[in-house]
Symmetry: C2
Subunit: 251 residues, 2 copies
């Protein structure tokens, strides 16, 4: 299984602390890593089929503060598809003049949908196949980019079709919101004023968020397993879908 | 105007020397840079709206050897579209289960084609609009990914439509070949056995290719202006399109 990390904020925020926490877990998840950052409508994605513990690219991501409101990261333990760049999450496609970034944790059995639309997998993972199907079905459901609530309704209709084929923990963003779907393991929290300090669970690293924020800042973090030892993480329920906007879950 | 750099090789080759030469020219082309590397079917793209002279990401690309058979790089001097991540070349789309990477040097006047297909620009450059139109027309011309010669014929039919709107120097790759189209400025050379040394024109850097290659290696380099002082570069003719495969131009 892989591990996911998502970040959604109301102001561009760097993710170095949380990514460092995720990368620490890469000894078990050494088959590649990737991270995508939205900056307005633009997106940059760093992927590497090497482990996030050793990769020079991961080192850059851990030390170079890229400020973003929507981040999706993934460390891979290959289940379907060989260790290769084209099988490394997150995946990106364009739809309606917006980039869509997607990462998946899980394993879909026998999911071979008819892909008759404009989205085809480049690699050979179940994950990219699922993403292409999702994009195809979204393209059929709307004529242009819908608002976040409307899109959440469409996703709520589509995701059970994927979930019934196996484990489907997922993060998706188009730069307007970040959607998280849980099948087995996914947790979230919101950091907001008054900010406190937090310590990574797996590494001796502590951050005082109060020193790096203003009282107006708010950031939601979503991760397969809680990344910090001293914060209150909420577990998703199986089958639960949440949209995060401006650093908090949409009611 | 921007500057382009392309590399096509018969064996995975790093591009640090040539990219260093390109980045030296970024004092005039400071509105962003980008570079895309194919590794088999996968592709990784580094983009930054900062100058290639200062960017931490450019520093990584100059010092970390990523081995690839098809590379497209671009340094930007904005003509159309503000300085922003979504306007930074190269652009990427997926078609027929292959990634396509595109970079453009030039300026198209009044090019507003009807984009009725599956490819829409995310940013607001003439370049991305031209790329989306090109992808749309390729998708109409073939049912699946054609061979390199067939695709070259289709491109030869389509590119004059872009060229007649203004300056259109372009690099395009799908990981099988690298296509270069010249409107005003584009040069190429092939490095092959017996390899010699070469010196960058704009920087005090010299490489002995014989020390880093085998006699079977062959690499074609395409650049807006010759990057080295002591090699024989060939200028493209205006309107010329060339496909490079396995480190040499296709006859």
């Amino acid at each position: 299984m892989c591990q996911l990390l998502g970040m959604n904020a109301n102001t561009p925020t760097d993710v170095m602390f949380s990514f460092t926490g995720l990368a620490t877990r890469a000894h078990e998840h050494k088959d590649g890593f990737g991270i995508g950052f939205f900056e307005d409508r633009g997106v940059r994605v760093f992927i590497d089929p090497a482990s996030a513990r050793d990769s020079a690219i991961a080192r850059l991501v851990k030390t170079y503060p890229i400020h973003s409101r929507h981040v999706i990261a993934h460390i891979r333990k290959a289940t379907q598809g060989r260790v290769a760049l084209e099988n490394t999450h997150p995946f990106v496609r364009e739809l309606w003049g917006r980039y869509w970034v997607f990462a998946h944790n899980g394993d879909l059995k026998g999911f071979c949908p008819r892909l008759h639309g404009a989205f085809r997998p480049v690699g050979d993972t179940d994950s990219e196949r699922a993403f292409c199907w999702l994009m195809q079905e979204l393209a059929k459901a709307h004529a242009g980019v819908p608002d976040v609530r409307e899109l959440s309704c469409t996703l709520a209709e589509l995701l059970p079709e994927l979930h019934r084929h196996g484990t489907f923990n997922m993060l998706l963003s188009n730069g307007q919101a970040l959607w998280a779907h849980c099948s087995t393991h996914l947790h979230w929290l919101v950091r907001q004023h008054p900010f406190t300090t937090a310590s990574l669970k797996d590494e001796d690293l502590r951050v005082d968020f109060a020193a790096a924020t203003t009282p107006a800042d708010r950031v939601a973090v979503i991760a397969t397993e809680p990344l910090t030892a001293d914060e209150a993480w909420t577990a998703f329920r199986p089958g639960e879908l949440r949209a995060f906007v401006d650093g908090q879950p949409l009611a």
